[in-house]
């Protein structure tokens, strides 16, 4: 299992490259501009959901982006929750 952290917008190469390597059972932590990829009902969100990975979003970055109420089904985590993910999952791969 891998914890992927993605900090790039849905239109970026990093986003596409990450989606190519993510496997079912992985966890994906969306940071910065990547949070826009989790918007409910969007094609990017569908692509994320199809990956089979658990989709997590950093709460403070979602708030900054104005997406508080538009990320249904994504796991919103504060920084404590993000650290807890890294405690549980030994491998982290950053995409940016």
């Amino acid at each position: 299992m891998v914890l992927h952290t993605l900090n790039a917008s849905p239109s970026s190469a990093a986003f596409a490259d990450c989606l190519r390597l993510i496997a079912p059972g992985d966890t994906l932590m969306l940071l910065g501009d990547a949070v826009y990829g989790a918007v409910t009902g969007s094609p990017d969100r569908q692509a994320l959901d199809s990956s089979g990975a658990e989709i997590c979003v950093l709460r403070e970055d979602a708030a900054i982006a104005g997406l508080d109420n538009r990320l249904e089904g994504a796991t919103l985590l504060d920084m404590d929750g993000f650290v807890e993910l890294t405690e549980r999952i030994s491998r982290q791969l950053a995409w940016y």
Partner: protein, 130 residues
Amino acid sequence: MNYALLVMSSPFSGQGAMTAARFARCVLARGHSISRVFFLDAGTNNGAAAAVFPQDEKNWLQPWVELAEQHDVELILCIASALRYGMLDGTEASRHEKTSATIHPAFTVSGLGQLVDATAGADRLVTFGG
């Protein structure tokens, strides 16, 4: 657990570096240790001593300085990257005949061996970019 952090991005390119600093603070609060934060490539810009912050913008240097001064976290700028970005400590400034050091004293300049050493001994290696 022991964490090593790698910061790849400059503080003004996006939020990655600031997230890294907050992450580090939280790692310590949860009782873990951080052997080192290593800044590589554009990440070395986080060590800029003379950055001036407009009043309504966040001071991105202060969280790092606090981690170093209050929690003894080692902040290492990769020397090869740092030189390219004009990030010099006193020694390098003299060596290259520049007028002054440009990095904040909370940071140290060193080689990639410090990154390798940190990753070899870390339970968790977390990279931040963007």
